[in-house]
């Protein structure tokens, strides 16, 4: 991991990797979306509204995965003083918040016809909303930091502590009676029929690759900004 501690080495890998992730992601999303919207059968109970699944699930996965990334970066920053950890965490925060909001929005749109309500304060929805607020708090804290692209130690600790919400979101439907259904895809298999399931693999992987590309782009932008500022400072000093 410390091989990437050198920003120059990181950039040598990140630069060619970004377009592959971005275009690969777009391609997979396109395949999954076309299949999910036009070629898969409707659900026996929900009818056509089931198709929102192909965005809702990847959005939830990336909202939670994003914060997991922020927590890991926080640990790497606090324990190993990894120089890129703060930059990575800051790069993850905005897209993570975006996907969390997308998950809440698509869930709400699905909830109206399926459940008969836009919003209910059940365990799953409330804990996911808390995640969105955690993201807002993290972004606010990070932008108050004066850390040249990275985040302060307080922000890193906040990222680490906030990760406690991730297992709560995951377990909420098991611990409490909730309106939200339990997990369909578990270790023991999937209760989503194969004919409805396969585009979900495409969109989940596709959005994940796109997320990776966005994070790499934002990290590169941060590093470039640091270099610009360093150069300006040098020029001002001369």
């Amino acid at each position: 991991m410390h091989g990437f501690a050198n920003p120059a080495r990181f950039l040598r890998i990140a630069r060619p990797l970004t377009p592959w992730l971005a275009w690969g992601g777009v391609l997979l999303i396109a395949i999954g979306m076309v299949a999910g919207l036009f070629f898969t059968p409707p659900d026996y109970l929900q009818g056509e509204t089931v198709r929102i699944l192909y965005i809702h699930v990847p959005a939830a996965w990336l909202g939670m995965g994003g914060w997991t990334g922020i927590a890991i970066a926080g640990l790497a920053q606090l324990v190993w003083r990894h120089p890129l950890a703060g930059i990575a965490a800051r790069a993850i925060a905005a897209p993570g918040a975006l996907f969390t909001a997308l998950c809440l929005a698509t869930g709400s749109i699905w909830g109206r016809p399926a459940w008969g309500t836009w919003w209910e304060w059940d365990g799953r929805m409330t804990s996911m909303l808390v995640l969105l607020f955690l993201y807002f708090g993290y972004i606010a804290l990070a932008s108050a930091d004066d850390e040249r692209g990275g985040v302060s130690r307080v922000t890193a600790i906040f990222g680490l502590v906030g990760a406690i919400n991730i297992p709560i979101i995951n377990r909420s439907v098991v611990w409490w009676n909730t309106l939200h259904q339990k997990a369909s895809i578990t270790m023991s298999g999937s209760s989503i029929d194969g004919s409805l399931l396969w585009p979900l693999g495409f969109t989940t992987l596709g959005f994940s690759l796109l997320f990776g590309a966005i994070v790499l782009m934002r990290m590169r932008a941060s590093l470039a900004q640091i270099r610009v500022e360093a150069r300006l400072r040098r020029m001002a000093g001369e």
Binding site: L45, W115, L160, L179
Partner: protein, 143 residues
């Protein structure tokens, strides 16, 4: 001990304490954070008539009946342990049907019937195309 290891130990201890505290809090919240009472829970908790609660369970097979006025619907919610008769005046969501999950918001009346102001349908974690569902259990209501 190197500083790096000291920090790692500190972080792990703090994390373990945090997880422990959260698990304790969550288990204490177990009942309060529940979104609805199941019929069995409601019986056990002795919910007073008139107290606003949510009651959730499966709509009992063959229990849905319509009153002559055409807008009042009666059915029973069950969790296998207990069954509660429910009365609701209004329009139910599309997914509301027999042998499927539902949540009723309302209160018990003096006779033990649950009078609902609102009905929400619960979807379970199974998703499948209509043909397969039709083969598995003839629900009769396939869209």
């Amino acid at each position: 001990m190197k500083a790096k290891h000291q920090r790692l130990t500190l972080a792990l201890v703090a994390l373990a304490a945090l997880i422990g505290a959260t698990l304790l809090a969550m288990s204490a919240l177990k009942d309060q954070a529940a979104y609805f009472y199941s019929p069995g829970d409601a019986k056990k908790a002795n919910v007073a008539p008139g107290q606003a609660i949510r009651l959730g369970g499966m709509v009992e097979k063959g229990s849905i009946a319509r009153d002559p006025d055409g807008v009042t619907i009666r059915f029973a919610l069950t969790d296998g342990r207990a069954s509660v008769p429910v009365r609701f005046k209004g329009i139910v969501p599309d997914l509301f049907k027999e042998d499927s999950g539902a949540v009723a918001e309302g209160r018990f009346d003096a006779s033990g019937t649950f009078v609902a102001d609102n009905i929400l349908a619960k979807h379970d974690e199974r998703y499948m195309p209509p043909q397969i569902a039709g083969d598995m259990h003839k629900t009769g209501r396939v869209e």
